[in-house]
């Protein structure tokens, strides 16, 4: 929390923001959530995600070619290629 406070107050000074003392707890709470979200995004393996997209695109093209009369539930691609969610 001290590190966050140090960072936040320095960033506020650099950005020219004058933040009322009463607002700091709320601002730092939201900044913590934002940084937690950023960490979640950073953990995504983008090369794997892009590879899954390429595989799904290829399979989807095959599926479309085979499914001129397709009915509901013709394929379960999404579960095959799904990553953590």
């Amino acid at each position: 929390v001290d590190q966050l406070d140090t960072y936040a107050r320095a960033a506020a000074r650099l950005a020219g923001l004058e933040i009322d003392d009463a607002w700091w707890p709320g601002v730092e709470r939201h900044l913590t959530v934002l940084l937690d979200n950023a960490a979640l995004v950073e953990a995504v393996d983008l090369p794997s995600l892009r590879a899954a997209t390429a595989r799904a695109t290829a399979l989807g093209a095959e599926d479309r070619a085979d499914s001129s009369g397709a009915q509901n539930g013709a394929d379960s691609l999404g579960t095959q290629a799904g990553g953590p969610s």
Partner: protein, 465 residues
């Protein structure tokens, strides 16, 4: 009163047939708002003079044998972040209320007016569209017509409530993270959030350029179809407009045969109250849909949406955050300030993931046409409620309302929200999700569900109707 008698298409038919004049329709709408909106607070500005003048013009066109357009005499209203000539675009804020009036109508407003629509007024919203409940510190909370002790949802809360209350049959809102879909679901009305870039945002005060879209609310699917047909299309003057040919009008009688439907699994099958999850399952059962599909990285998509929203939103309002932060709504101020302090790396990584996720979602639709998912994790919370318990865990009510909508808009996908059931008298909705630019497929499916009685607007307790 049946929906067919009060929806936009029904009203336009009556006006064109001479059963009722456009002026009479406008007067009725204005009277309903005067009688009922003190309890709901969906309107922040009522444009009586403009509405009556426009209605008189419609009647004059009809009297001379002309065609005023498919929305002849239909009263509509818009979220107060759309420019309307002569009115200040307040965007739910105190700060922008000091701006000069807009010189011209926003493109979406212009298109509806040009088609015979009669603009009745401007609608309540969360400040600068940053919220899911429309509990606005400056203009008051917008209340839910099904229970005025509860919120209407947000940020386009006035847009959902005004249709649910029967004040108007067509409204416009904006959706960045769920701001059309959440209020539509909580207010029990239909909504269409199109593909990113499909409807011009020109003249709409932006919130997050990477995610913003214009969306519509209505009591029927045919109203959404007509409004989509009028609104969509490339606008060279809008930098985020998609340069793509227009769709042919949706075939609302085509049914769902041949379409591949699936239920969103995993992330979308948990995290809500049982009734919200069961609403999707019951709809799937009624349609014979057995396929389940997992949307990969949904939680990460929601997280990235929140990073991009906070940082882009803060950048947009940075001058005001520097000079007059005390004039922001406290509900938005702290989040904007946090966004202004975020490291650039967080934003850039979220943008990189955004592109990859959007492509991944497009590929997912190679094997399915429409995905069913819950719209909100629970029905409308009480005004002022800050926490809720879901699956034994305490969640922050306001941000959690977007748990099912944020991953979808992050991919830029079109979503049609349908009202499907009520729990303790409060509406719940389901998202119908399709691939990019497949709005007419969504309209086709929603029309089939409406015709089967599986999707319909519940009757709100509105004595002024």
């Amino acid at each position: 009163v049946s929906v067919a008698a009060t929806d936009a298409v029904g009203i336009a038919a009556d006006v064109r047939a001479g059963t009722v004049s456009a002026v009479e329709v406008a007067e009725r709408a204005l009277a309903a708002i005067a009688a009922g909106d003190d309890a709901i607070n969906s309107f922040t500005t009522v444009l009586g003079d403009r509405a009556l003048a426009e209605a008189a013009r419609i009647d004059a066109v009809l009297a001379s044998g002309g065609d005023p357009g498919p929305l002849a005499g239909v009263p509509f209203a818009v979220k107060n972040l759309f420019d309307v000539a002569g009115e200040v675009t307040v965007a739910g804020s105190k700060i922008s209320a000091e701006d000069p009036p807009a010189g011209t109508d926003a493109e979406a407003v212009r298109r509806l007016s040009q088609a015979g629509g009669v603009l009745i007024g401007l609608l309540n919203m969360d400040e600068y569209a940053y919220g899911f409940t429309t509990e606005n510190a400056h203009y008051g909370a917008c209340r839910n017509p099904f229970d005025p002790t509860r919120v209407a949802g947000g940020s386009s809360g006035g847009s959902g409530a005004a249709v649910a209350a029967g004040f108007v049959s067509l409204t416009l809102g904006s959706d960045t993270n769920g701001s059309v879909r959440v209020p539509a679901a909580l207010c029990g009305v239909f909504s269409l959030k199109p593909t990113y870039g499909r409807i011009s945002c020109r003249g709409m005060l932006p919130f997050v350029d990477t995610l913003d879209v214009v969306g519509a609310f209505a009591p029927s699917v045919r109203d959404l179809a007509v409004s989509y047909d009028l609104l969509h299309g490339y606008d060279a003057a809008d930098p985020i407009s998609a340069d793509r040919v227009r769709d042919a009008p949706a075939d609302l009688g085509a049914g769902i045969d041949g379409l591949r439907l699936a239920v969103a699994d995993g992330y979308f099958a948990r995290g809500g109250i049982p009734a919200a999850i069961e609403a999707v399952a019951e709809l799937a059962d009624a349609l014979g849909v057995t396929e389940r599909i997992s949307i990969p990285h949904a939680a990460e998509a929601r997280a990235a949406a929140m990073v991009i929203t906070a940082t882009e939103g803060a950048q947009l309002h940075l001058d005001a955050l520097r000079t007059r932060p005390g004039d922001f709504d406290p509900m938005t101020r702290d989040r904007f300030l946090a966004g202004a302090l975020a490291p650039a790396r967080a934003y850039l990584q979220a943008l990189e993931f955004h592109a990859a996720f959007r492509s991944r979602m497009a590929a997912l639709f190679g094997s399915v046409d429409v995905i069913l998912a819950p719209a909100t994790p629970f029905p409308a919370p009480v005004v002022g409620q800050r926490e809720a318990v879901v699956e034994g865990k305490t969640v922050q009510t306001q941000p959690y309302l977007g748990v099912y909508t944020q991953p979808i808009s992050f991919a830029g996908l079109p979503v049609l929200t349908i009202p499907v059931t009520t729990v303790d008298g409060l509406p719940l909705g389901v998202q119908l999700i399709a691939t990019h630019f497949a709005e007419t497929t969504l309209l086709r499916v929603a029309a089939a569900l409406e015709q089967r009685g599986l999707a319909r607007m519940p009757e709100a307790v509105t004595p002024w109707r």
